[in-house]
């Protein structure tokens, strides 16, 4: 019997700093890995340190690399920060339910990302911008702490100029040299050209941002069940065995991390749930 808890040994192919604490690295997929869907995650393992759930931030069509963008804040992620190719680490996956891209076909795709919440949404951009005819419009609204912490900025600007991506970013605070927006992501919704009735929204970021974005989108007329969010809890096993990542009746690791907002709203609105 195949053991879903036994990692594969994989080799790091590249490592790149994104901002002070955030970095992106690629590993060679294990032989039997198959493919992943945008929004899914892998469990990465470092001997002696443990495992960490990391969303996959690369192109789902790329079968030669598995890309992860990580913020160095825990034991495992800090240790990953110190590794360089050809380091070998453990990997199992992919886990979870991804973004409902099919539901957005023929409609407007609106992505809202906060901070490193852009990582699990980038696969959606790879996929959607490779077949833009499937969507009326693809929009990315991005919130970040400061201009220096905007991820993948060169690639996003390239997608904006060459691939038809409507892209707006705002930061919490900036020096006077910054030419872009300063403010909150919810205000970007008004600045962007979107047709709320046609919109399928995918939102990822801190939980409080999800709540505020969902509220603003609904005020504008986006249907509640067309708002999808990716949630975070401590996903320790990926298989529903360990119980850590539960939110109400859901295991985030296998029923999520992506949910239609109405399904999780009552639980997100309950303090300490």
């Amino acid at each position: 019997m195949k053991d879903p808890l036994l990692p594969h040994l994989v080799e790091m192919q590249s490592w790149q700093q994104e901002s002070e604490l955030v970095f992106t690295f690629q590993v060679a997929p294990p032989e039997e890995y198959g493919s992943f869907r945008a929004g899914q995650f892998n469990m990465l393992y470092l001997p002696g340190m443990g495992e960490s759930a990391i969303s996959i931030s690369g192109d789902p069509a790329d079968r030669n690399h598995l890309t992860h963008t990580v913020r160095a804040v825990g034991n495992v992620t800090r240790a990953l920060h110190g590794l360089r190719p050809p380091a070998r680490i453990g990997l199992r996956g992919p886990f979870g339910r991804g973004w409902p891209l099919a539901a957005a076909e023929g409609r407007e795709l609106l992505l809202m990302a906060g901070g490193i919440g852009l990582a699990p949404l980038r696969p959606v951009l790879f996929q959607a911008l490779a077949a833009p005819e499937r969507y009326q419009r693809v929009t990315l609204l991005l919130g970040a702490r400061s201009p220096e912490e905007i991820l993948y900025s060169e690639q996003l600007l390239r997608w904006k100029s060459d691939a038809g991506l409507q892209f707006l970013a705002t930061v919490d605070v900036a020096s006077a040299a910054w030419r872009g927006d300063v403010g909150v992501i919810t205000d970007l919704v008004q600045r962007a050209a979107i047709n709320p009735q046609q919109t399928v929204a995918m939102v990822c970021g801190p939980e409080i941002m999800l709540r505020f974005c969902a509220r603003r989108l609904r005020e504008l007329g986006v249907a509640s069940d067309a708002i999808h969010v990716s949630l975070e809890r401590h996903m320790q096993c990926g298989t529903g065995f360990c119980g850590h990542c539960q939110l109400g009746p859901y295991f985030l690791c296998k029923d999520g991390p992506v949910f239609a907002y109405p399904a999780v709203e009552p639980y997100l609105m309950t303090q300490e749930f």
Partner: protein, 359 residues
Amino acid sequence: MLMQRWTPRDLQALIDGLRAEGVRVLGPRVGDAAILYDEIETLPIGCGDEQAPGHYRLTARHDQSRFGYNLGPSTWKQFLFPPEEAIFRVQDGEFISCREQPDKMAFFGVRACELAAISIQDRVFIGDFADPGYASRRENLLLIAVNCSQASGNCFCASTGDGPAVGVGADLILTELRPEDPYYLVEAQTEAGQLMMSAIGGPAAATGEIDARDEVLAATRLQMQREFATEGIAEALYSALDHPHWDVVAERCLACGNCTQVCPTCFCSSTREHVNPVGLGVTHMRRWESCFAADHSYLSGGVVRPSVKSRYRQWLTHKLAGWELQFGVSGCTGCGRCISWCPVGIDLTEEVAEIRRPL
């Protein structure tokens, strides 16, 4: 279906026979002033118990009964989902599975609620994903169940529909009759059970004895003082997440986690890395954990459920509501262990009644 009549000597012959075949026979023994489940050679005789919220005492029954007590703090879970288990180890840069072919086990004296609990854990560990350790232990398992001939002060399996009559899934079902000079009605539900019956032999039971079994079960059912309304409980609890009674429970709850440790269905676990001093390898271990632990809901950046109130609410809503939606069945089988072993005697049936009471 053929029903046999066994003597206490036949029970012993079954234990001896299984052990002779190399089966680990696990069953009740007296230890630490309680009935514990452990590897056994014989069954305890004349033991009873007395249970109330926050209270458990072994008593002497002054008879020859082998199953005259109810549930102690042990659950069968410890053998199928061990408190600590090695998942894999890392040696010379390779990941090596620690899953091994398990011993064949027989659980001797499984009660109706416990059989239900095992089938619930089956759904957790052999569902969307299968845990190979659990699955292989489960495959190599004989279940010798017993109908309860008495209920403890904390039992409420009749309310949850899990007992006191043993349901499906057992290999053998025993019913103890006439405790002063006991004999046993024996039924088989599986081929393995039939094999055990033919190996031990014994006369066929008379029709009257089958009626006696049903009378025992009816009397046990009547003995249960605790009632628990399960209908519509998931919606009721999820719509009462802000009920003020959660604060009232939290004033008593110590967040000790006893309830989760004695619960036959609780399955939360954590992993840790064990660095082997010899050879400097590492073993990736899994062990039981509790949603009452402060760091259970730890997330980089904080703890989702810092208050005792939020942890009790998580436990209770998961057990009684979340489970239904996750596994199609409640996580509570009415065994009452969490009531007996709660140091402050919190009784979930009372708490649920309060929370379901309209404001």
